[in-house]
Symmetry: C2
Subunit: 116 residues, 2 copies
DNA sequence: TAATCAATTGAATACTTGCTCAAATGTATG
DNA sequence: CATACATTTGAGCAAGTATTCAATTGATTA
């Protein structure tokens, strides 16, 4: 490790360690990012970006079985990324709130900049 | 599927399908989110949130072996989340750019709101 | 109420991922 | 130049994950 004032160094590291969020918050953060860390789920978010869709339409849009999409939606619902409402036989899914849209848009802008 | 004007429906779905980014972009998006979708890597981002650190210090801060941290840093570097500079024996890592900080902060705010 | 369609669920499986350990590579310094 | 320290690398393993398939639940309608 870098040498220097030994006491300061240990103190600094402790300070940084203390600034790291508690493990429950770390888990929440990682879980949220994880939910969007999959191509299928990114597609679902993108498909819902401009309005709600029922499961079978979502499945058609993302090119997977209803079942596969339903499994993913369950995870996304559990993690507050999407919400649903039933209308008769159909269950319409939409993005949970504006944050999701904001985050999606910011990251999209970010990766497109990186390519430049 | 919901019945209605059949032609409009198919047309609408096609339109939504067309708005979904190309698969390369989907992959970039999912990969970026994936990088932050892990507790260890969230801790690393959080530790670097206020300045650079060398590998061994990072390891101490996040409570893992140098090797484990180095493996994660490789992935994070590859995905433009962190950057590094060598200074003698040491390699100092820092967040790649302001976007990473912004995204981290926005998501942190989001999950803390959800708990309310 | 029987038949039908939408959505969910659970088990199985192939695939991915994070960590550890041991060995290798860089870099400095005695 | 040999030793020590920082970091990286690769193989291996245990745990997690995404999809499929078959069966089930929920809701409409003929």
């Amino acid at each position: 490790m870098p040498v220097g004032n030994e006491e300061d160094l240990t103190a600094q590291i402790t300070k940084i360690k203390d600034r790291i969020p508690a493990s429950e918050e770390i888990t929440l953060l990682a879980d949220f990012f994880s939910v969007l860390g999959d191509g299928t789920r990114v597609k679902i978010v993108s498909a819902l970006r401009h309005g709600e869709l029922c499961v079978s339409h979502l499945a058609e849009v993302v090119g997977l079985s209803d079942s596969a999409v339903s499994h993913q939606l369950r995870l996304m619902r559990y993690n507050n990324v999407v919400k649903s409402r039933r209308e008769g036989k159909y269950i319409y899914y939409s993005l949970a709130d504006e944050h999701v849209i904001d985050i999606y848009d910011v990251v999209k802008a970010h990766i497109n900049e990186d390519n430049a």
